[in-house]
C-alpha cells in the first residue's frame, strides 16, 4: 500500500508539472545500445500470429545490423489504433496493412512513403495481390500474404464418390449440401455452413459474374442470395439469425464435425493445422476449389492481400524499406509458407514448402484449390468503399434474416448506394 500511495504522490506531482507546461520525451532510441538500427513494426497479436515471428526472425538472421521490434496491437481494433497513432505523429517505421481498404485510406492521406522503385524491381508475374495496391500509378505498400477463398470439407461426411469436388457448380454444391444434412436437435448435421459475412454471397457473385461491387447496380447478387436462402430453408445450412445472434464460429462448428462443407478463406487451414496438432479436434479435412457459377472450367475466386508499408515519418526509412522488400520477396514468402500461410509471392519452391507443412492436405484436389486461375479482390478500392461496405452489410443482413425479399434487398442496395454515397 505504501508503494501505491507513493506512486499516487508522484502522479500528483506530475500533474503540477504538467500544468506548468512541461513535456517532452520520445518513443525510445532509433539505434540499440550495440549500434543496430531499430525498425519498429506495427502488427497484431504477435504471440499468436506465427507469420510475424517467422518474418522477423528470418530477416534479422540475414541482416544482423538491424533490430526489428514488434509493436503489438490487438487484431480487433488494429486500424483504429493505427489511425490514432498516425494522427498523433507516431514514428513507427513499418505499418502492416490489414486490408486494402485501410491501405487506401492511409495512402490517400499521404501518411505512407511511396515504394514505386521497389515495386518496379519486382518480378510482377510471380506476385498475386499486387495490383490492388496501385493508386494512380503509385505503390505505397508491398503485399506479403494473399488469402483467397476455397471450399473446406469434412472427409467423414463428404466422399469423393458423392460428387466431383474439383468441378462443382453452385447447384451441385447445393444438392450435395442437402444430401449431406441429417438429424435434428443436438445431433443435427448441416450440409454446409455459410458464414454471416456479406462476402459469402456478394463477393462470390461479383468475382464469378464479373459484377462490380461499387457500381450501385446489384442485380448480379440475385442467384447467390437465392441459393443461400434455399439452403437455409431446406435445413442444409444454419439459419442466419441463429448464427449471427449466437456468434457461431465457423471453426467451432466445422471442428465439431457438424458440418460437411464450409466456403472460407485459406487462413482457415493454419487454424485447423494448429488445432489438430494441439489435439482439440481430430477432424479429417480437405480443401477443394470454390464452386463456380460459370461452367467454362476456369476457377475464379476472391481474396484479400495483406501488406507492409513504410510510415512517412519513419525514423529509419531505408532499413524499413529493406524489411518490407525482403518480407514480400521470395525469402519472406518461403518463411511464411512454412507456417502454413499463403504468401503473395508464389514461386514453385514456395508452394512446395507450403504443401510440405505437416498435416496440410497435399492431394491433387488441394493443389488445384490453391492454384486458382483468377483471384479477384474482395472489395475494390475507392474513396467510397467504406460507405458502400456499410450499406451492403446492412442490407445483406436484412435479406439473409428474411426481413426483406431478395428483390427488395437488391433494390434497396441500388437505391441507397446511389443516393447516400457521394
Amino acid at each position: 500500500m505504501r508503494k501505491t500511495s507513493a506512486r499516487a504522490l508522484t502522479a500528483a506531482v506530475a500533474v503540477t508539472l504538467l500544468a506548468a507546461g512541461c513535456g517532452g520525451g520520445d518513443g525510445g532510441s532509433a539505434t540499440t545500445a550495440d549500434g543496430r538500427k531499430v525498425v519498429k513494426v506495427a502488427l497484431w497479436n504477435y504471440d499468436t500470429t506465427p507469420e510475424f515471428k517467422a518474418l522477423i526472425e528470418g530477416f534479422e538472421a540475414e541482416n544482423p545490423k538491424i533490430d526489428i521490434q514488434p509493436v503489438d496491437i490487438l487484431a480487433d481494433d488494429y486500424a483504429d489504433k493505427v489511425t490514432t497513432m498516425l494522427a498523433g505523429g507516431d514514428s513507427t517505421d513499418v505499418l502492416t496493412m490489414k486490408n486494402v481498404t485501410d491501405y487506401a485510406r492511409f495512402a490517400t492521406r499521404g501518411q505512407l512513403k511511396s515504394l514505386d522503385s521497389e515495386v518496379e524491381a519486382l518480378d510482377k508475374a510471380s506476385y498475386s495481390g499486387l495490383d490492388p495496391f496501385e493508386l494512380d500509378g503509385h505503390y505505397y505498400a508491398m503485399p506479403y500474404r494473399h488469402d483467397f477463398w476455397v471450399l473446406f470439407y469434412n472427409k467423414a461426411l463428404i466422399k469423393p464418390a458423392d460428387a466431383d469436388l474439383a468441378k462443382l457448380s453452385w447447384a451441385d454444391y447445393a444438392s450435395l449440401a442437402k444430401q449431406t444434412s441429417t438429424g435434428g436437435g443436438t445431433s443435427k448435421v448441416y450440409g454446409t455452413y455459410l458464414q454471416t459475412w456479406r462476402s459469402v454471397a456478394q463477393a462470390i457473385a461479383a468475382a464469378q459474374t464479373g459484377g462490380d461491387l461499387l457500381s450501385g447496380d446489384y442485380g448480379f447478387f440475385k442467384d447467390q442470395y437465392e441459393l443461400a436462402l434455399d439452403l437455409q430453408k431446406s435445413g442444409a445450412a444454419m439459419p442466419f439469425g441463429t448464427a449471427k445472434s449466437q456468434k457461431v464460429q465457423y471453426k467451432t462448428i466445422f471442428e465439431s464435425g457438424k458440418v460437411g462443407m464450409v466456403p472460407m478463406g485459406s487462413w482457415f487451414a493454419s487454424a485447423l493445422l494448429e488445432d489438430r496438432a494441439k489435439g482439440t479436434t481430430d477432424i479429417d479435412w480437405g480443401v477443394a476449389p470454390l464452386p463456380q457459377i460459370k461452367g467454362d472450367g476456369t476457377k475464379t475466386t476472391f481474396g484479400s492481400p495483406t501488406a507492409f508499408a513504410v510510415n512517412k515519418k519513419a525514423r529509419n526509412s531505408p532499413e524499413a524499406e529493406q524489411f518490407v522488400k525482403w518480407a514480400s520477396g521470395p525469402k519472406g514468402a518461403a518463411a511464411i509458407a512454412k507456417v502454413g500461410v499463403v504468401p503473395s509471392y508464389t514461386g514453385e519452391e514456395v508452394m512446395k514448402a507450403y504443401f510440405a507443412v505437416k498435416g496440410m492436405p497435399s492431394d491433387a484436389l488441394a493443389a488445384q484449390a490453391m492454384k486458382p486461375d483468377s483471384v479477384k479482390l474482395e472489395m475494390p478500392v475507392s474513396d467510397k468503399t467504406s460507405d458502400i461496405n456499410q450499406i451492403l452489410d446492412e442490407e445483406h443482413e436484412l435479406v439473409m434474416s428474411g426481413e426483406k425479399s431478395v428483390e427488395q434487398g437488391i433494390e434497396e442496395m441500388n437505391k441507397r448506394v446511389k443516393s447516400e454515397v457521394r
Binding site: A79, T83, A87, Q111, G241, K244, E397, L398, S401, E403
Partner: protein, 299 residues
C-alpha cells in the same frame, strides 16, 4: 462606518472566492487541460473538414447541411431517442426499487447487493450471447413462455427490425440497474432516520413513507442518476456493438456508432464532430430541463 463595512465585505468576498477556487482547482486543472480543452476543440472541428492528418479547413455549416440529408443520421437519432425513452425510466425505477429493497438489515444483504451488481461486471460477450439465447425466436425460454400464455406469434427480438430495440432496452436495464442501485444506496443513507420515525409516529404506512420521506430525501441523488442516465443513454455504444452491431439492417444503429464510423473508421472527423455537437446539444437541453425542474421542486 459604511466605508469600512464595504471594504471588509469586499475583502471577505475576495477571500471567499479564493477559498472557493482553491477547492476546485486541483481537480479543475487536470480536467480543464485534458478533457475540457479537447472537448471544446472537438466541437470547433464540427465546422471544419478534417481527416486527422491534414490541417482542418473551415467550411462553416457544410457538415450540418450534410447531416440534414443523411438518412443514417436521422435513423440513428430516432433509434437513440427510442432507446433513451425506454432505458431511462425503466432503469431508474428498477435501480430505485432494488436499492430500497436492499437497504435494510437483511441476512446476507451484502451478497444480494453484489449479485445485483454482477450484470455490470459480466463480460459483454457473455451478456450478448446469453440474452440472445434467452430471446431466441424459436427456442428461447422467453418466447416459449409467451407461447404458453397464449401469444401465438411472439416477437423475433434481435432478429427482427421491430423488436431488436426493445430487446436491447431489456438487456441494458438488466445490466445497468445494479450500477445505479449503488448510487441510490448511498443516497438513502443521507436521509435522517428521525424523518422515518416522525412519519411512523404520524401513522404513515410503508408506501406513504416512501412517497413522502424517501423520495423527497433522494431528490439530489435522483437528479444525479437522471442526468447520468440521460447522458449514458444518448451515448450508448458498447452493448449495441456487441449485441446487434446496429442491426438487423440499421434498426439499432445509434449516434455513437455513427460518430465512430464516420470519424475513426472513415476519417471524416469534421462530420463526426458535427454529429457529436448535435448530440451534445440534445443532451444539454434535456439536462437543463431536468435542472430547472429540480430547482422548482426544491423551492
Amino acid at each position: 462606518m459604511t466605508l469600512s463595512d464595504s471594504t471588509t465585505g469586499k475583502r471577505r468576498r475576495r477571500h471567499n472566492t479564493l477559498v472557493g477556487w482553491s477547492f476546485i482547482l486541483p481537480n479543475f486543472l487536470g480536467f480543464a487541460a485534458l478533457t475540457l480543452l479537447p472537448v471544446f476543440g472537438t466541437l470547433l472541428l464540427a465546422f471544419t473538414d478534417w481527416n486527422s492528418y491534414s490541417t482542418p479547413e473551415w467550411i462553416g455549416f457544410d457538415n450540418f447541411r450534410r447531416m440534414l440529408d443523411d438518412g443514417n443520421f436521422w435513423t440513428a437519432l430516432k433509434n437513440t431517442s427510442w432507446y433513451a425513452i425506454g432505458h431511462i425510466p425503466l432503469t431508474l425505477a428498477a435501480a430505485l426499487g432494488l436499492a430500497v429493497l436492499l437497504n435494510r438489515k437483511l441476512r446476507a444483504v451484502g451478497v444480494l447487493r453484489t449479485a445485483f451488481f454482477f450484470p455490470y461486471i459480466t463480460s459483454l460477450v457473455a451478456v450478448a450471447v446469453v440474452w440472445n439465447m434467452l430471446l431466441s425466436p424459436e427456442l428461447g425460454p422467453v418466447n416459449q413462455f409467451l407461447k404458453f400464455v397464449g401469444i401465438a406469434h411472439p416477437p423475433g427480438w434481435t432478429t427482427s427490425t421491430d423488436w431488436a430495440m426493445p430487446a436491447l432496452v431489456i438487456t441494458s436495464v438488466w445490466r445497468d440497474m445494479g450500477y445505479y442501485m449503488v448510487l441510490y444506496l448511498a443516497g438513502l443513507q443521507a436521509i435522517p432516520g428521525e424523518l422515518y420515525e416522525a412519519a411512523r409516529v404520524d401513522g404513515a404506512g410503508a408506501w406513504k413513507r416512501f412517497w413522502h420521506v424517501t423520495l423527497p430525501g433522494l431528490r439530489p441523488t435522483t437528479f444525479f442518476v437522471l442526468v447520468m442516465l440521460t447522458v449514458s443513454s444518448f451515448k450508448i455504444f458498447d452493448l449495441v456493438q456487441v449485441m446487434t452491431e446496429g442491426g438487423p439492417g440499421r434498426s439499432t444503429l445509434v449516434l455513437s456508432q455513427l460518430i465512430y464510423r464516420q470519424g475513426i473508421a472513415q476519417g471524416r472527423f469534421g462530420y463526426a464532430s458535427a454529429i457529436s455537437l448535435v448530440l451534445f446539444l440534445i443532451v444539454l437541453a434535456i439536462t437543463l430541463v431536468q435542472f430547472q425542474l429540480q430547482r422548482r421542486s426544491e423551492r
